[in-house]
C-alpha cells in the first residue's frame, strides 16, 4: 500500500501544472491586425472584455484593442505585455488581418511566425485589410467585432459567393506550394471616425460606420497585385467549389431581368492533353421573372435553362480570360492540377508557364443548370398585359 502511495506521489513530481492558467488571469485574444511602417511591425490585438457579457452593469466596451510595435512580430506581441495586465491567450484567435501596404511588399514573412509558435491554432482566417484600424470598430448584434466579421464572411460566402474563407492553413499551403498563387478575401472600413470606436456607434438605429467585405485580393509571387471584381470573385469560388449558392441575374428583355438562385453547385476541373476542362453543374430556383416566361411550359423551361447555362458559361469564360490577361497569376491552380494528373506535360511546360503557357492553355467550360423550383406563380405575374 505504501509503495502504491509513493508511486502515485511520484507522478505529481514528474510534471504538471506547467501551463496552468486560471480564466481570470488570461486575456482572450480574438484577432490581430498587422501593419508594417518603416520596417517596424505594428500590430493591433483585439482582446475580449469578459465583464461585458454581464449585461446588467455598464463595464465598458465589449473588447479592447492593444497596439504593439516591434522589429519582428514576436517582439511586437511581447511589447503588448507592457500594457496588458493579463497573459494574452492566443488559442482563440479568429482573424488575422494583414494590411494591404504590408501585403504589397511581401506577405510571406508573417507565415513563418504563425507556423512556428506552438500556442496559436492554425485554423484562424486570414484577410487583407484595405484600411487601417478595422478591429477598432464597434459592431452591432455580435458585439465582438472579430466574431461579427467572421459570421459576415460565412453568410456572404454561403449566400453571395463573393468572398470566401481562407484559413491560415490554406494560406500557408498556397504560399508554400510553388504551383499555387495566393488569393485572400479583403475587408475595409466605411466612414471611419473617432466615434466608430465607441459604444455609441452601435447605440443608434442608423449605424454610421461599419466594416464592409471586399472582393478577393489576388497575389503573385507573395505580393498583392490587385482586387478582382465581383464576377471574377464569384467565378473563382465557383470553380474552386467554395460557394453554396449564388444569384444569377440575367437580362431577358430590355431593362427586365430574371433572377435565379443557384444551389447545389458542383464543379469539376480535369486536365487532358494540355487542356483544362471545367464542368459546372448546379440546380436553381427562379425567384424573379419580369419577362413573363411561361415556366410551366416544358419547352420554355428547357430554353430558359439553356440560356442560363450559356450565360453562366460566358461569365466564367470572360472572368478567367480577364484574370489571365490582367494579372497573369494562376490562382485557380491549373499548374498544380497538371502537376498532379499529368506530370509529363508539367515537366514540359513548367518553365514557360507564366511566359505564355498560362495565357494560351485551352480551357473548355461546360455548364448546366437544372431548374427545380419555379415558385408558386406558374404563369408569370403580368397576365393582364
Amino acid at each position: 500500500m505504501i509503495k502504491k502511495i509513493l508511486l502515485i506521489l511520484i507522478i505529481f513530481l514528474l510534471t504538471g501544472c506547467y501551463d496552468h492558467k486560471e480564466l481570470n488571469t488570461i486575456a482572450i485574444m480574438t484577432a490581430t491586425e498587422i501593419n508594417k511602417i518603416n520596417n517596424e511591425y505594428i500590430i493591433n490585438v483585439q482582446v475580449v472584455n469578459p465583464q461585458s457579457s454581464d449585461k446588467t452593469v455598464n463595464v465598458g466596451s465589449p473588447f479592447f484593442v492593444y497596439e504593439g510595435k516591434g522589429i519582428t512580430l514576436h517582439e511586437a506581441y511581447r511589447n503588448i505585455k507592457t500594457q496588458s495586465s493579463r497573459f494574452l491567450y492566443p488559442n482563440h484567435m479568429q482573424l488575422l488581418i494583414v494590411n494591404e501596404k504590408l501585403a504589397k511588399e511581401d506577405i510571406s514573412e508573417i507565415i513563418d511566425f504563425y507556423l512556428r509558435i506552438p500556442d496559436t491554432r492554425t485554423e484562424f482566417n486570414v484577410l487583407i485589410g484595405k484600411s487601417d484600424n478595422i478591429l477598432n470598430i464597434t459592431t452591432p448584434i455580435d458585439d465582438i467585432s472579430a466574431i461579427s466579421i467572421l459570421e459576415t464572411m460565412r453568410t456572404n460566402n454561403k449566400y453571395l459567393g463573393i468572398t470566401n474563407l481562407v484559413t491560415f492553413n490554406d494560406f500557408a499551403n498556397m504560399n508554400l506550394n510553388k504551383n499555387l498563387e495566393i488569393i485572400l478575401p479583403s475587408i475595409e472600413t466605411v466612414d471611419y471616425t473617432e466615434e466608430s470606436t465607441t459604444i455609441e456607434n452601435t447605440e443608434k438605429t442608423e449605424i454610421k460606420s461599419l466594416y464592409k467585405l471586399g472582393n478577393l485580393a489576388i497575389f503573385k509571387d507573395n505580393k498583392l497585385l490587385d482586387y478582382l471584381d465581383k464576377d471574377e470573385s464569384i467565378t473563382y469560388n465557383l470553380i474552386k467549389n467554395k460557394v453554396a449558392s449564388i444569384l444569377i441575374t440575367k437580362e431577358c428583355e430590355k431593362d427586365k431581368y430574371i433572377t435565379a438562385e443557384a444551389t447545389e453547385i458542383k464543379s469539376e476541373i480535369s486536365t487532358k492533353n494540355k487542356e483544362i476542362n471545367i464542368n459546372v453543374k448546379m440546380s436553381g430556383n427562379i425567384n424573379e421573372n419580369m419577362c413573363n416566361i411561361k415556366l410551366n411550359n416544358e419547352k420554355e423551361l428547357k430554353k430558359l435553362e439553356k440560356e442560363l447555362s450559356k450565360y453562366i458559361k460566358d461569365k466564367i469564360e470572360t472572368s478567367i480570360n480577364n484574370i489571365r490577361k490582367n494579372y497573369n497569376s494562376d490562382i485557380f491552380g491549373f499548374l498544380d492540377l497538371i502537376y498532379k494528373k499529368d506530370y509529363k506535360t508539367y515537366k514540359e511546360i513548367k518553365d514557360t508557364w507564366y511566359d505564355g503557357e498560362f495565357q494560351n492553355i485551352k480551357i473548355n467550360i461546360k455548364s448546366s443548370i437544372d431548374i427545380i423550383g419555379k415558385g408558386n406563380v406558374q404563369e408569370g405575374n403580368n397576365e393582364k398585359n
Binding site: I11, F12, T15, G16, C17, D19, H20, K21, E22, L23, N24, I26, I28, T30, V48, P50, Q51, S52, S53, D54, Y89, N91, H92, Q94, R121, I144, I147
Partner: protein, 475 residues
Amino acid sequence: MNKIINKIKNETNNLDNVIYRKKRILYKDLHIIYIDALIASDKISDFVLRSLNRIHIPTYKNIINKIANFKYKELTTYDEIIYYLNSGFTILLVSKNKYIALETRRDLSRGVSTPITENTSRGPLDAFTENIEMNIGLIKRRIKSNDLWIKKYVLGKYTQTSAGLIYIKSIANKDLVEKVDTLIKNIDIDGIIGTGTIRNLIEKENKNFFPNILSAEKPYTAIKYLLQGNVIIMIDNDPFVLILPSTLNDYFISEEDDYNKSISVSVTRIVRYITFAITLLTPGIYIAITTYNQEILPTQLLTSIAAQRENVPFSTFVEALLMILSFEILRESDLKLPSFASSAISIVGALILGEAAVSAGIVSPIMIIVVAITSISSLIFVEPQFTNALRIYRIGFMIGGVIFGIYGILLMAILLLINLVSYDFLGIPYLSPFAPPITADLKDSIIKFPTIKLKKRNHLLSNNITKNITGDEYD
C-alpha cells in the same frame, strides 16, 4: 436440576427478568424457566401451564405428547438451554439431561411495511422486516418450490444472531454457494449487528471502492436475483438482505425496468450510463478545461464562462472543492436529521449555496450548475456504497484535472478502468458482462432485449443456463 437453576442465577447475576417456576405434578417437581422480556405471557398461560395441568403422569414422553405449543425442541445440554432461553423459549426441566424448550416468543418485530429506501412506481410494495423468519416467509411465498434451499447459521459470540444463506438449488452455481458457505463459516466475531458487519467481513473491504454486494429491501429484488443464480444472505434483526455477487451493471438496473417495454428501458439505461459519466467527470473536466485546455471551448462560451469567473477570488479547483464539500455537508446533515427538520436544510442550502454565495462573489454561477448537475446525477444510484465510490473517484478526477488538464482526466479514467477490470468477486469479474463479454447478460445491460429473447443465464453465476421461457416470438 437445582444445579442448573443455580448456574443460571449465578451467570445472570440473579437477573429478575428470568422467571423460575415450580410446578408439582404427582410428586414430581417440574421447573419452568423463561425470560420475562422475551416471552408472550398469554402463550405461557395458554399453552404451557394449561397443558401441564392436563398431564397426570409427568414422564418426558407424556409431556411432549400433550404439550400444546406448535414448536418445541428437545434439549440435552446446558449450552442449548441458555441459547433457547435467550431466544424467547420457555424451558421445562423434566429430569436430568431431559429438557424441553417450548416456543413462547413475544412478537417483537414490526409488521411488513412499505420500503423506505427503494421507491417504486409499480410493483409489490412489501419490504423485509427485522424478523428473519418473516423475511424467509416473504421469499417462500414467492418461490413455492423445494429447490429453494436455506442454510442456517448462528453468528457472533455474544449476539448469537441467526443468519441464512438462501439460493435456488437447481439454478445457483454449486461452487459459488460453497464459497459463500465457507466465507460465512469462517466468520468469528463478538457480535453481528446487521448486514453491514457481515458485508465488510465477506468482501475485501477496500480493494475496490465500488460495492460487490447489493443490498435489497424488497423481496421482489431478492427473488429476481435468486432466479438469476445469485445467492442471498439474510441476518436476523436487519430488514436488508445481501445479494451477492454483484457487478457494476447491476447498479444500473432498477425494478421498474421489468414493468416497462424493453425499448424504453434501453433509453433509460443509456440515460443512467450517461449520468454515471456526468457525475464522475463533470467537475474534473470543468476544472481541466477552464485551467488548462481553454482552446477546446467555443469562443463565445469561453467568454461567458470567463465573465462569470471574473470576480471569484479562488482558483477553480478550490471553488469546486468548496461547493462539493458544502453539498456533502448538506447531504450528510439531511440524512442524519429527522424529516421534520429537512425543510430547514433545504432552505439554508438553496439560499446560501445557490443565491448568496454567487452574489457574494465567492463562487461563480456556472460552478453552481456544475456541482448541481453532478450531485443530482449521483443521486440516481440508490446504493449508498455506490454513491460513495463515485464521490471518491470524482475527487480523483478533479485532482487529475487540476494537475494535468485533460491529460490528467484520461490518466484517471485509465486508473479507474484498471481498477474495475482487474477486480473480481467470487469468480465473477466486476465489469462483466462487458469485460469479459457474456452474451446472456449483455442482452440485459445498456440495451435491454425483449424479455422473450432473454433465454440464457450468466454461465458464471448459474449451472443451469437455459431459462424456461417461451411465448409468441416476433422479429
